[in-house]
């Protein structure tokens, strides 16, 4: 029997930017409608009200806005750390561990030397220790990859658990009061090793540091010789070898950088926000950052948008859960739907569907 398939898929030409962003916007609108309908059917709540609560939860008050910006800055910082590695097609899934390793080194100095050094020197030492800690955690899998071609995804992933368990051990060991299982706020009285507030805003310094970092990473990747080498190695190792790039050196150097920025994020978290260390200091951002990176197609500037989107959604969705007395999973459902649509829209930017029957029209 002769039957044309219902539809077939055809690759598109590159769309102009306004059309591709139109498709993405449309995807968000569709996502909101679908998520709204699901909300209505599952909970009977008015979707408009739910969305209003969501916005309120994210930016409803000044405090919430600052919290959102801090959260975004941290997520962005980790995503920026992943970018050089990802551009090199080195799938660093160990950001969580690298952040924790950096944060841990920094907390140790804060805890042990807090009252022995002047504050400026202490903070500097914490910064160096944090960056170094992250870099070491990042470079170990890179060395193994370069020397013995181990699988970096698994290796970096496993390194996460080592970092988490080390912290778990010392948090118990150093817990205040003893046996409480928590270190508590470090140097609460002296505030030694705390990053200063600017204009009364505790998080502003973190946000400024990450903003500068965004520009630096962008410049490094786009205009520097190192950035060029990273792109060549990522695209084709054979080409890199052919033109005489030392691939092993580039892998190790880049992962050193990636880990170092993760370590910086750890420092900012410990010194500039939490003033303590727990197993949850990175809070899963090491994994969320992977999504931020991919959604922005490894472009540091776009990452500002994608990390803001994701933090906005999670803050807002969290508010829905508490306001309407819903299970936290419900906010995950809404976040999931929205991200699904955004990721899915990329398909329609690259391909189009031709439906049955439309062929004849095209003929005439």
């Amino acid at each position: 029997m002769h039957k044309e398939p219902l539809f077939h898929i055809v690759k598109r030409e590159t769309l102009p930017w306004y059309k591709s962003w139109g498709v993405r916007l449309l995807a968000v609108v569709c996502a909101l409608i679908v998520a709204g309908l699901i909300t209505l059917f599952l909970t009977g709540l008015n979707p408009i009200k739910v969305y209003a609560t969501m916005i309120d939860g994210a930016i409803g008050t000044q405090r919430r806005t600052w919290a959102l910006m801090q959260k975004t800055a941290m997520l962005l910082c980790i995503a920026l750390a992943l970018t050089p590695a990802f551009r090199m097609r080195f799938w660093n899934t160990g950001a969580e561990g690298q952040v924790l390793a950096g944060g841990m080194c920094c907390a140790v100095i804060m805890l042990k030397l807090g009252d022995k050094l002047p504050n400026g020197l202490l903070t500097l030492l914490m910064l160096v220790a944090g960056v170094l800690g992250g870099a070491i955690w990042g470079v170990i899998p890179a060395i193994f990859k370069a020397k013995w071609n181990t699988n970096e995804t698994l290796f970096t992933l496993m390194m996460n658990y080592i970092a988490i368990q080390i912290i778990g051990y010392y948090v118990l060991e150093w817990s205040v009061p003893k046996g409480s299982g928590s270190i508590g706020v470090i140097n609460q009285k002296t505030q030694a090793g705390w990053l200063p507030s600017i204009g009364g805003q505790a998080y502003l310094i973190n946000i400024i540091v990450v903003a500068v970092l965004t520009v630096l990473v962008y410049i490094y990747l786009t205009y520097s010789k190192h950035g060029y080498e990273i792109s060549v190695v990522g695209e084709s190792e054979k080409t890199a070898r052919y033109i005489g790039i030392d691939v092993k050196k580039v892998i190790i150097r880049t992962m050193c950088l990636s880990g170092a920025i993760c370590g910086l994020a750890g420092f900012l978290l410990v010194s500039g926000a939490d003033h303590t260390i727990t197993k949850d200091t990175a809070g899963g951002n090491g994994f969320t950052a992977i999504m931020v990176c991919w959604l922005a197609k490894f472009n540091p500037i776009w990452m500002v948008l994608t990390s803001l989107l994701i933090c906005f959604l999670s803050k807002g969705a969290g508010e829905i859960a508490t306001m309407f007395n819903l299970n936290l999973s419900f906010s995950d459902i809404i976040t999931g739907i929205i991200i699904f649509f955004i990721v899915g829209s990329e398909f329609f930017i690259n391909y189009r569907l031709i439906f049955r029957g439309h062929r004849k029209e095209a003929n005439s």
Binding site: P5, V10, K11, S236, Y242
Partner: protein, 510 residues
């Protein structure tokens, strides 16, 4: 008249808006007939066959099999209509035997019966004159044996319509003759055969009818007995072309690169080059002939410093001073830092020579980005070079920053060869530089190589088309399974002699 095996009516297939792979193609293939589809690379030959074999689906038009309109949406559908395709790139499992590969994926009721199957394989082989050992593992087979397995695979499934995509590209002249003998037998037994090729003399040799495509458009079908090379070329290219390579005598050739007793292993520890010794001279083109995969790639990569050698040495004689430099165990970067201008056009253009996702400018920078102090890239020079190459070699590209992956094969090669020549080399190595290129681009590349030769460059040219090797080179070195089987004078040798050398076994102890 009998019903045609396949009839295509106004088949159109586009990729995106601007790429028209096939436009209003009409074809007829009868049983007991060999149809050759002729066209340059990128003219849509493979796309067309892929639509008949269910890999693509046409945007417009109709396909008739045995006079009935059909819709082929998967390779399984194609088999239902007794259509079998032999792809250019084999799809075989290396660790399985011939028989195992042949019955793999076959939906027979009951159990796999290897014995029965290999008996049937032998029957098919005997019927058409194949030479095959059903129990031999694929990884032990030569390219031509693998191809035999692919052909038997579709015959085993009962195909009456066979389509072969460039089957002769990987074969020696002798193997090609054998294949053609088999195809003729199949034709006599009433099968319909479609064969893709861009070698004219093969078309004239084997086919009954020739259909010509040009840039996706169907130009026409002619009877082979009523046409000639000139007419076919004109149909293919759209205008009259003169195909002459102007070969000058080498001027003052002196030794430039001496390769001595080179031995080389691949990653798995198999010996890929053994005891290779030759000299490349300035001002001449040294051709390297051999069956694909005989060690040509490894040889060039070893000289370029990309592969370690086990034993042996490479000496470079500096043209100005006559000083000898040893290239053994040097990395490509070290070789360049020694001031040796060794250019290399690798076989794998987008995978090794260029970065596909980068534009022409950034690809120019591959060779020069280290220049200058500071940590930042300087783009003016590569930009100027890119513009110069685009203009002088007539590279068709929307802009100098368009990813080279999106350019056609010929233009990609112009970018690569242009960059390598711009480095003012003293040794230029090119592996299959015209593979996949249309006739005009191919001749442009030949001329560029000739120009380099006249400038006193030692050119090493790895080629597959023996006619070209004979017409372009001064000397031809033949490689068979990693050993040099002979070095002959290109002006006096014959295709047959080279063909014999290609398959000659050199005893290991010799």
């Amino acid at each position: 008249m009998s019903v045609p095996a396949i009839e295509l009516k106004n088949i159109t297939k586009t990729f995106g808006k601007s790429v028209v792979a096939n436009k209003n193609v009409c074809l007829t293939v009868n049983y007991g007939e060999i149809l050759a589809i002729l066209g340059e690379n990128g003219s849509g030959k493979t796309t067309l066959l892929n639509m008949i074999s269910g890999i693509y689906y046409p945007d417009e038009g109709q396909i008739f099999v045995n006079g009935e309109e059909v819709s082929i949406t998967s390779p399984k559908d194609a088999f239902k209509y007794k259509i079998g395709m032999i792809h250019q790139h084999f799809k075989l499992v290396d660790v399985f035997s011939a028989t195992e590969n042949i019955i793999l994926g076959l939906e027979d009721d009951g159990k796999y019966d290897i014995k029965k199957a290999s008996l049937k394989v032998r029957e098919i082989a005997a019927q058409y004159g194949f030479e095959i050992d059903p129990d031999k593992k694929i990884y032990e087979m030569s390219v031509s044996e693998k191809q035999t397995v692919e052909i038997i695979k579709v015959l085993y499934r009962g195909a009456d319509i066979l389509m072969l995509d460039e089957p002769t590209a990987v074969l020696t002249p002798q193997e090609t003759r054998k294949l053609f003998a088999v195809l003729r037998k199949m034709k006599e037994s009433g099968k319909a055969i479609v064969i893709i090729t861009h070698k004219l003399h093969e078309v004239l040799d084997i086919s009954d009818k020739v259909a010509v495509l040009r840039k996706g458009e169907y130009i026409g079908t002619v009877n082979t007995s009523e046409t000639n090379e000139g007419q076919l070329t004109e149909m293919m290219v759209g205008k009259k072309v003169t195909l002459n390579i102007d070969r000058s005598d080498p001027v003052d050739p002196t030794d430039r690169l001496i390769v001595a007793h080179l031995n080389c292993m691949n990653r798995d520890g198999f010996k890929v080059l053994s005891n290779v010794t030759f000299t490349a001279k300035s001002g001449e083109i040294l051709g390297i002939a051999g069956i694909a995969g005989s060690g040509q790639r490894e040889l060039l990569e070893t000289i370029a410093g990309l592969q370690p050698m086990v034993t042996g040495g490479v000496q470079y004689i500096v043209p100005e001073t006559g000083k000898i430099e040893f290239l053994r165990d040097k990395t490509p970067l070290q070789i360049r830092e020694m001031g040796i201008r060794l250019s290399f056009v690798p076989e794998d253009r987008l995978g090794m020579g260029l970065v596909g996702s980068m534009g022409t400018v950034d690809n120019m920078m591959l060779r020069s980005y280290r220049k200058g102090k500071g940590i930042f890239l300087r783009k003016q020079e590569p930009k100027a070079l890119a513009d110069k190459i685009i203009e002088e070699l007539e590279v068709v590209t929307p802009s100098a920053s368009t990813p080279v992956r999106r350019l056609s094969g010929g233009n990609v090669q112009k970018v690569l060869v242009g960059r390598e020549i711009a480095a003012a080399p003293t040794v230029l190595m090119a592996a299959y530089p015209v593979r996949g290129l249309d006739i005009n681009s191919s001749y442009l590349i030949y001329n560029l190589l000739n120009e380099q030769k006249k400038n006193g460059v030692a050119v090493i040219f790895v080629g597959e088309d023996l006619d070209v090797l004979l017409g372009l080179c001064d000397r031809i070195m033949v490689i068979g399974s990693g050993t040099v089987t002979g070095i002959v004078d290109a002006r006096t040798t014959t295709k047959e002699e080279i063909g014999l050398l290609m398959t000659k076994e050199v005893r290991k102890d010799a």
